[in-house]
């Protein structure tokens, strides 16, 4: 199906439209710069609809402009009484039938795309990855089904393969949205699990947002999808499975940090393993793109976070002041040493600003 709009794109209107719109927004976030199957399909659908809308708008505005210019009351005409027309059957038929036709033109690709994106035919097939996505206030958990491994905030996927997502929530409704790869889907609490799929065309770090109001830090519930080549992805899985949660860090500060971490934090955070705790899984913490989904991964920020998570993300579930500033410093040293894989590191974290 890829590029079934391709032939239309060469048409002038579409070409111009595509040009204008693709100038909008940053590379790894804008829905107008698709980097995956779903997003591309949807951009095509948007283009068809925009074209229809522009067509309609031009007609309306043409009549509008004509009427306003031609039929204004002029000085001295205040007493003129225009002809009181009742209506015009054939005109009325025209402006009933033409919109119906235009809407049918829009409805057909709409229904096609809707069914296309709901397709689950290959889920569960040999070699097809399914990731269990859980939305939490205000972080994301990704459990790679059958792989015995899990990540939080950063979702790794292989490029040019369909990856299915089984989505649910542990608390309130969230919505999983990576604009450059696919449309969004809600994560519901309870039995109502949803499934969608992603397919990235290029390697890259794609920005994701939570799109359903879920509390004070709804706007800070960002995450990323990191698409790497299938070989690298296998490598990454390998790296992750080989993590030894008990391994001794190198520096003494980090060793003390590990001790402190195990005493204070393990009730909620896991290192290694795939089960979901109260807090994010921190196995590959040093590989994280951001702290808690949004903050620059500097040590300073990390220490601030560990001591005052409530100030950085209002309403989040992690208690403040569990440890002192000095202790946090050591824990940060430890966490920043949890560097287990080279995969994905060469990808630009943030696309350059607007072209």
């Amino acid at each position: 199906m890829r590029g079934w709009m391709g032939k239309f794109r060469s048409l002038f209107l579409f070409g111009a439209l595509a040009m204008i719109l693709s100038g909008c927004g940053v590379d790894n976030l804008s829905a107008l710069k698709p980097k995956g199957y779903g997003a591309e399909l949807l951009l095509d659908l948007m283009m068809i609809s925009i074209a229809i809308m522009i067509f309609v708008f031009v007609i309306v505005m043409a009549i509008y402009a004509f009427v306003l210019v031609r039929y204004r009351e002029k000085k001295g005409q205040e007493d003129v009484i225009p002809k009181q027309t009742e209506g015009n059957k054939s005109l009325e038929v025209i402006w009933t039938v033409i919109p119906i036709i235009l809407l049918l033109v829009l409805a057909v690709p709409t229904v096609q795309a809707t069914f296309d994106l709901a397709d689950q035919s290959t889920q569960g097939d040999e070699g097809v990855l399914t990731v269990e996505v859980t939305g939490n206030q205000y972080w994301w958990h990704f459990n790679y089904e059958g792989e015995e491994l899990a990540t939080s905030q950063d979702l790794y996927i292989p490029t040019n393969e369909r990856v299915y997502l089984n989505m649910k929530s542990s608390d309130v409704i969230h919505s999983f949205w990576v604009p450059t790869l696919a449309g969004k889907m809600d994560t519901n609490p309870g039995e109502n699990m949803n499934t969608m799929y992603l397919e990235a065309y290029e390697e890259g770090v794609y920005w994701g947002h939570c799109a359903e109001l879920c509390g004070p830090s709804h706007s800070l519930m960002d995450f990323r999808v990191i698409a790497v080549s299938p070989e690298e992805f296998d490598q990454w899985k390998e790296d992750m499975r080989n993590v030894d949660p008990e391994a001794q860090p190198e520096t003494t500060s980090a060793q003390e940090g590990q001790e402190l971490f195990n005493n204070n934090c393990m009730s909620c955070h896991a290192i290694g393993g795939a089960s979901m705790g109260v807090g994010p899984n921190l196995t590959n913490y040093a590989n994280r793109e951001k702290i808690a989904g949004v903050f620059e991964p500097t040590k300073e920020n990390l220490v601030d976070w560990i001591v005052h998570p409530d100030e950085m993300k209002p309403g989040n579930q992690m208690p403040a002041n569990l440890v002192t500033e000095e202790e946090a410093d050591k824990i940060a040293d430890y966490l920043l040493e949890l560097d287990h894989s080279e995969v994905g590191k060469d990808l630009p974290t943030q696309a350059p600003d607007e072209e």
Partner: protein
């Protein structure tokens, strides 16, 4: 009462008069003032939202407060500003347009208003008692059921009370239109504003009960421990979404249809032409109302209903573009060949056409279910609905207020100031909301307290904020106009525009409280115009001059609503301390006691005698 009150009217008497009034024209004033105040509050909240989003990572207000701000902005604007302002117009105009002396249920009409007002006050009290509701105006469970504090409880009780008022108002208009039309005013001779009031009231009748039930379930979950939305006990949160939108989508047509009606009247008046395709317009109105009930799930495309349901709702939604298009083209052709007079009312109406068309077209884009996976819950949607709501409903309210102001208050709003208010508002409107479509597509979800730096969203948001300030300027100029007119404005004639076509322009501005001395005989569509074209001065009466029967004023509607208001607080706080149950009993006691009083004490109304009417005619206050 007509004589007693007229003689000595101190401030106290005037207030008492308004507290007890059952006159639809005074109730219109009440709706206008309170709806207007709520519009300013909602607008102020919008300004705070825009200031917060002026630059990235802003901390003008806190995250929690931001959520309260958007929730209250949406709720206030829709339930407490737009709907009451629409009710103000309906009350002021519909009985006059059908040649009635009164509405069908004057007492209930007043009850409807007081319920709305107390519900609205209740909602806004939450600001001062530890936090407003913060789960969005859509109040999705379980965010709402688990929201700490009492904010959401205020949402539930406030909307329940004001919703009851709306339902009562709706039934009142339905019966008024069916039963109280003057002789000769057949259905197919009713002005479009009356028609759209009729359809709107039907929508209210069928849509609000779903919200009522939703709010009850929410109340039971939050206050009495039931498990409708508690997944741990087998509840299902999607039930709320469906109930809310079964109500919520018809609600948006409840907002726009009356203004469609007002535009129809205005376009036809100021083009000096009868409405083009009258019967198609009526049919389109009914059809929009009808289709409005079959599309609610287009707000839920991403919930996971599956491709079949999504496709059905997508196509059904698109269908609404057809009757709406019929309307747009009929308006254009009403002006075609006419003599367009650019009054302030007309200016707002003219501006409405392109603005609403854009909003409608983005609506159809949203209706493409799959594409909505990208648009949903982004600023694209915010752009869409402000285009239809501000560009349709708010423009419509301004147009209609300019148009009917003389009929409501006896003075013509200053035309020059009217136009000065228009331009900044119009420009600001497009500045604010056009760019939001792009913000959405560029990856900005809605209900975001902050957006981050370096995502290409800075410029757009800044422009949007600047636009909001322009709208504020426009609003303030309008307020100045209101004050200026009430001080300096000239008294309006019965037909101040000189081109009146419908019955309300046949009687003095403002009309006497019994409206028509003699019920008029209607001889065609646009009855006043028909008489004018026959060279007559005014309407031919359908009955001889005689005594008029009018209802009595009553304080009971106020008391009933006050009782529910008190009981509402009791319900909210009995969770903390059962002593608050006393408030429930006291409040319900007041309400039920007032109801009992109403049913035990006969109220047969009073008569205005022929002599008084003749005196009024001599004085020129009746005709």
């Amino acid at each position: 009462m007509s004589t007693a009150v007229a003689q000595k009217r101190g401030l106290g008497a005037a207030i008492w008069d308004y507290l007890t009034t059952v006159d639809h024209k005074k109730i219109a004033h009440l709706y206008l003032v309170s709806g207007g105040l709520f519009f300013l509050i909602g607008g102020l909240e919008a300004m705070i939202i825009r200031i917060q989003l002026m630059k990235p990572d802003n901390d003008f207000i806190s995250a929690g407060l931001y959520n309260e701000m958007i929730t209250m902005h949406g709720t206030t604007m829709i339930f407490l500003a737009a709907m009451p302002l629409i009710f103000a117009l309906m009350n002021a105009v519909v009985p006059l347009q059908i040649g009635a002396r009164d509405v069908a249920f004057p007492f209930l009409n007043s009850l409807g208003f007081w319920l709305f007002l107390f519900g609205g006050i209740m909602l806004n009290v939450s600001w001062f008692t530890g936090g407003a509701p913060d789960a969005g105006w859509t109040n999705y469970a379980p965010l709402s059921t688990t929201s700490p504090g009492h904010g959401v409880d205020y949402y539930v009780m406030g909307l329940q009370i004001s919703g009851a008022g709306t339902l009562i108002g709706g039934i009142n208009f339905l019966v008024t239109i069916v039963n109280m039309r003057a002789p000769g005013m057949t259905y197919m001779r009713m002005p479009l504003f009356t028609w759209s009031t009729f359809v709107t009231s039907t929508l209210i009748l069928f849509a609000f009960p779903a919200l009522t039930v939703g709010l009850f379930l929410m109340m039971f979950d939050r206050m009495f421990g039931s498990a409708f939305f508690d997944v741990a006990l087998g509840g299902n949160v999607i039930i709320w979404e469906h109930l809310f939108w079964i109500f919520g989508h018809p609600e948006v047509y409840i907002l726009i249809l009356p203004l469609f009606g007002a535009f129809s009247d205005i376009f036809s008046n100021f083009s000096k032409k009868r409405l083009f395709g009258y019967s198609a317009m009526v049919f389109a109105t009914v059809l929009i109302g009808f289709l409005g009930f079959m599309v609610w799930a287009h707000h839920m495309f991403t919930v996971g209903m599956g491709p079949i349901a999504n496709s059905i709702f997508a196509v059904a939604t698109m269908a609404i573009a057809v009757p709406t298009g019929i309307k747009i083209f009929n308006w254009l052709f009403t002006m075609w060949g006419g003599q367009i007079r650019m009054t302030a009312a007309m200016l707002w109406s003219i501006a409405f056409i392109p603005s609403f068309t854009i909003g409608g077209m983005t609506g159809v884009m949203l209706a493409a279910a799959a594409a909505d996976f990208q648009y949903h819950d982004t600023y694209f949607v915010v752009g869409h609905f402000h285009y239809v709501i501000v560009g349709g409903v708010v423009f419509g309210l301004f147009a209609a207020l300019h148009y009917w102001w003389p009929k409501m208050f006896g003075k013509v709003l200053n035309e020059k100031l009217g136009k000065w208010a228009f331009w900044p508002f119009f420009i600001g409107f497009h500045l604010t909301f056009f760019i939001q479509h792009f913000l959405g597509l560029m990856g900005m979800p809605r209900r975001y307290w902050v957006f981050l730096e370096g995502q290409g969203l800075e410029t757009g948001n800044l422009i949007s904020t600047i636009g909001a300030f322009f709208m504020a300027i426009g609003t303030v100029i309008f307020l100045i106009n209101v004050v200026y007119t009430s001080v300096k404005g000239e008294k309006a004639a019965a037909d101040p525009w000189g081109v009146g076509r419908t019955l309300e322009w046949a009687i003095p501005s403002p009309p006497p409280h019994y409206n028509f001395v003699q019920t008029p005989l209607v001889r065609g569509l646009d009855p006043l115009w028909v008489e004018k074209m026959d060279g007559k001065e005014g309407m031919t009466p359908a009955e001889p001059l005689g005594d008029i029967h009018m209802p009595n004023a009553s304080i009971l509607p106020f008391m009933m609503s006050l009782g529910l208001f008190i009981a509402g607080f009791g319900f909210i706080y009995q969770v903390d301390n059962s002593a608050w149950l006393i408030a429930v009993f006291v409040g319900m006691g007041i309400t039920l006691g007032s109801m009992l009083t109403r049913s035990l004490k006969d109220d047969l109304g009073h008569h205005i005698h022929k002599e008084e009417l003749e005196a009024d005619i001599k004085k020129g206050v009746a005709k």
